[in-house]
Symmetry: C2
Subunit: 501 residues, 2 copies
């Protein structure tokens, strides 16, 4: 299987004996090629680049003949390693003419953002108000909600932080940014912010520092001011009932695909993730970006050591430098905490056919497609640019998705090889299986089977197109598998920095 | 108001003009004494100790006459500061004769621990299985639960951690210890541990490393093994139904107060916390310890800089050293994370009448009463000793209480001045207001009003006795205010150490 026409290697999707003829590549294997490993599709001279997914994954250490095994014994990465070569691999984005761009049915909000769902949100500033936030969600019964058919429901987002952290810290600034991001999220027709009243992350300070605008769409309450649980639930339910009337008047209208901001995630990856689900997602994101939309890659530990893959696609030196700065920050963050950040191929990766760190990270980066990197965002920073972006987040699924959702992502695509059942409560989350086995076994949780690519039933570009259509349908209201289950609670986990005091 | 008969100072609970006669102390004020400030109840010579709550809070910097103001101008702490004086203030515990010890109605478990409630627990190993854990809780309807009148309900405990942390780290060991602590908690008649299947904190490894014993009272499930959300909920609900039958056969029986392990917490403290609610709790804990029970103080940042108060009460050099070691650990932890740990009196504290760091910490430490410190535990470490213990936790209420509950605390007492609505879902949590204003305003959340002490309606020893009775009733099944609200979710927040990867 060749992933891109220009690649110098192809992948054996099953073990190939020596002397196997492969018609579509017009070659005969010169050696046995293990399943998942690479073979040369053309003669590669010593020192020439090895390309996969259209990207350099290393350089030939010796001359390699057509049909021969390409792996650690004949590939080196050193010369490439430290060269960020800012912008060296950018290419002009071929935007689609406006009349050819896709549309979806979304909720246009006053600030110009577009919602893919129409929820009310109850956001806790601190763990101390999380319980009351959930009581508020439950205070409006399903029967009562049914009277507001245009409202998708009430989402309560509690979390474990908000107090006992230093008042002037990066930790508090990041938490504020995260909660403020949800307060502004277009999937909420209205938001109720609930505080206790003596926490470090006070409601009023949050509103002021983040320049949130209170009014009919954003109301605030403090439990201590109101006199306890019952009074807060009573007052909060009254507010939610007012918001329900207004939210029910919202209608879906045709919106250009350029209003989509898709957050990209992988979790429980396997050897096939980088071959099927991730490049399928990348193909869909290329269509999205060409339609004027936004794709947000994240999970800094997944690209660590191979950030060159992205700096080379950066639209400017400044954008490339922003990424390098975050990489340096992570080196300090992990060192300070006695942890290691090291994305080198493990022995298991190598046995599976992964040759270099560049190749490994390519698998993760493939989710973002092939367009230029237009900006690098901090965790939970508002997503305002169009095109392909990177947001600095941990690899931990829920923490990473919380950051992208807080940034304003209105749809999440999550690839998995081992299987996951997670979905962000406020933002529809499509799950893409990398292999048919996990798709079939977790059929009740998986939305897309990318395993069919391995079986030759479809190709990456075809599957990417199909996924793009599903993204539009989902953005227009089609339920994801996850949404059908009605998960509540623990779907938001802000990235907590530093000590808990 | 004098807190203890042996104290050399008393507190002015309102402003006292110069020359005010105070009959019960047999003195006349020599100066104006601001509200909340201290006055000498006997002549104190230069260099003599100043005692409050029966503890040294500093030394007279000059001769102080009866009735005069005792504050920063005439008190110093230096000489005392660095002297841990291990065990210098221990005194023999006056245990009550067995036939005079109180009893309560509790659930005796096979391992000898006694539950104060009879729940089933659904515990998530990782955030990825938190959503399914909550679906499992809801899978058994209230109508169905009503058929098992001896069961108090099903508690689902999700959290934000469990993956993307280093496999051999202190962080993972601590998380395992915390979840294992809940798995063994006597308030659960049965526990279902739910994992995803590819997380760092794997179910099987957790069970093995923590030497948990699986069987009818502890069952495990992995979502990936079972094939997704619906199948896991179906299988899990079947297990919960089996457990309900067994749990419903459990009956309360008379148990000695020595089986009580009370976790102590303060949050949203005010100037009165250290005068009313905390010493009331301390008086109750003295009765508990004399009855053979266990009181667990926590919140290391609250005693930082005044750890001498506890080392002097340590039963051995070894126990004192354990505390000092944790203090040193905190210095590193906060320094590494760019935070400060500094419990010195703030200008606000001083204006309110707090003179020294010893006095400030005394307010917090007062919750633990006056008996000897018999051991120092790590976060979430099993509580096996009787008597007065210290557990190393952050001050953050939910994180601290999670650690004590994981250690096996079967009742929590939480003092507050500003008001809090938190309660641990698995462990009954009594809330003690430090002043009548907050008690009246948050009457629907507060269990005990210690403000009546300020108003002269009762005394600390009287109120302590009353609280001890309420603890016995609560342990026997009387609902706390918190339990009546039916909070669910976010009541467990393990202390996460280090980086999120
Ligand atoms: Ca991930
Ligand atoms: Ca969800
Ligand atoms: Ca406190
Ligand atoms: Ca606290
Ligand atoms: Ca609760």
């Amino acid at each position: 299987m060749r992933l891109r026409d220009e690649d110098s290697v192809a992948l054996a999707i099953r073990k190939l004996d020596q002397g196997t003829e492969i018609e579509e590549l017009n070659l005969t294997t010169g050696q046995e090629i293990p399943s998942g490993h690479k073979l040369a599709v053309k003669a590669i001279k010593k020192g020439e680049p090895i390309t996969k997914y259209g990207q350099v994954i290393g350089f030939a250490f010796e001359d390699i003949k057509v049909g021969c095994h390409v792996h650690t014994h004949n590939v080196e990465v050193k010369a490439f390693k430290r060269d960020y070569a800012f912008g060296s691999e950018t290419k002009e984005t071929e935007y689609l003419p406006e009349d050819q761009c896709a549309t979806f049915q979304g909720y246009l909000r006053p600030d110009g953002q577009v919602g893919t769902r129409n929820y009310l949100g109850v956001l806790a500033t601190v763990n101390c108000s999380a319980g009351v936030s959930h009581l508020l969600r439950r205070a409006i019964s399903q029967e009562e909600l049914a009277k507001f058919p245009n409202v998708d429901g009430i989402v309560a987002l509690g979390h474990g932080s908000g107090c006992c952290l230093p008042p002037d810290s990066e930790a508090l600034a990041q938490l504020r940014r995260t909660i403020a991001g949800f307060a502004r999220h277009p999937n909420f027709a209205g938001v109720l912010l609930v505080g206790l009243g003596c926490e470090v992350n006070l409601v009023d300070t949050l509103v002021e520092k983040e320049e949130l605008i209170t009014g009919p769409r954003l109301r605030t309450l403090n439990i201590q001011d109101l006199g306890g649980t019952g009074k807060t639930v009573e007052k909060g339910a009254e507010i939610l009932r007012e918001m329900l009337i207004q939210a029910n008047q919202q209608k879906r209208t045709p919106q250009p695909a350029s209003k989509l901001k898709v957050g990209l995630e992988c979790g429980g990856s396997d050897a096939y993730s980088g071959l099927t689900a991730n490049p399928t997602l990348g193909a869909a994101m290329d269509i999205l970006v060409k339609s004027g939309g936004t794709a947000v890659l994240s999970e800094t530990p997944e690209i660590y050591g191979a950030e060159h893959l992205l700096t080379r696609r950066a639209v400017s030196r400044e954008v490339g430098d922003k990424l390098v700065k975050r990489i340096r920050w992570w080196e300090e963050y992990t060192a300070q905490n006695g942890a290691q950040i090291n994305n080198n191929p493990t022995p298991g990766n190598k046995a599976g056919g992964i040759t270099t760190i560049l190749e490994k990270s390519l698998g993760a980066v493939a989710k973002g497609g092939s367009t230029n990197l237009v900006d690098v965002l901090l965790y939970a920073e508002p997503i305002t640019q169009k095109g392909f972006l990177f947001m600095d987040t941990p690899g931990y699924d829920v923490v990473s998705i919380t950051g992208m959702a807080a940034g304003g992502a209105n749809l999440i695509c999550f690839t998995t090889g081992r299987g996951t059942v997670y979905g962000c409560e406020a933002v529809p989350t499509l799950k893409l299986a990398s292999n048919s086995d996990i798709y079939n076994r977790l059929a009740e949780d998986m939305d897309v089977n990318c395993g069919t690519i391995l079986e030759g039933e479809t190709t990456i570009p075809e599957k990417g197109k199909e996924l793009f259509e599903l993204i539009l349908e989902t953005a227009s209201g089609k339920q994801t598998k996850n949404e059908k289950w009605g998960f509540t609670g623990h779907d938001m986990v802000p990235w907590h920095l530093g000590a808990v005091l």
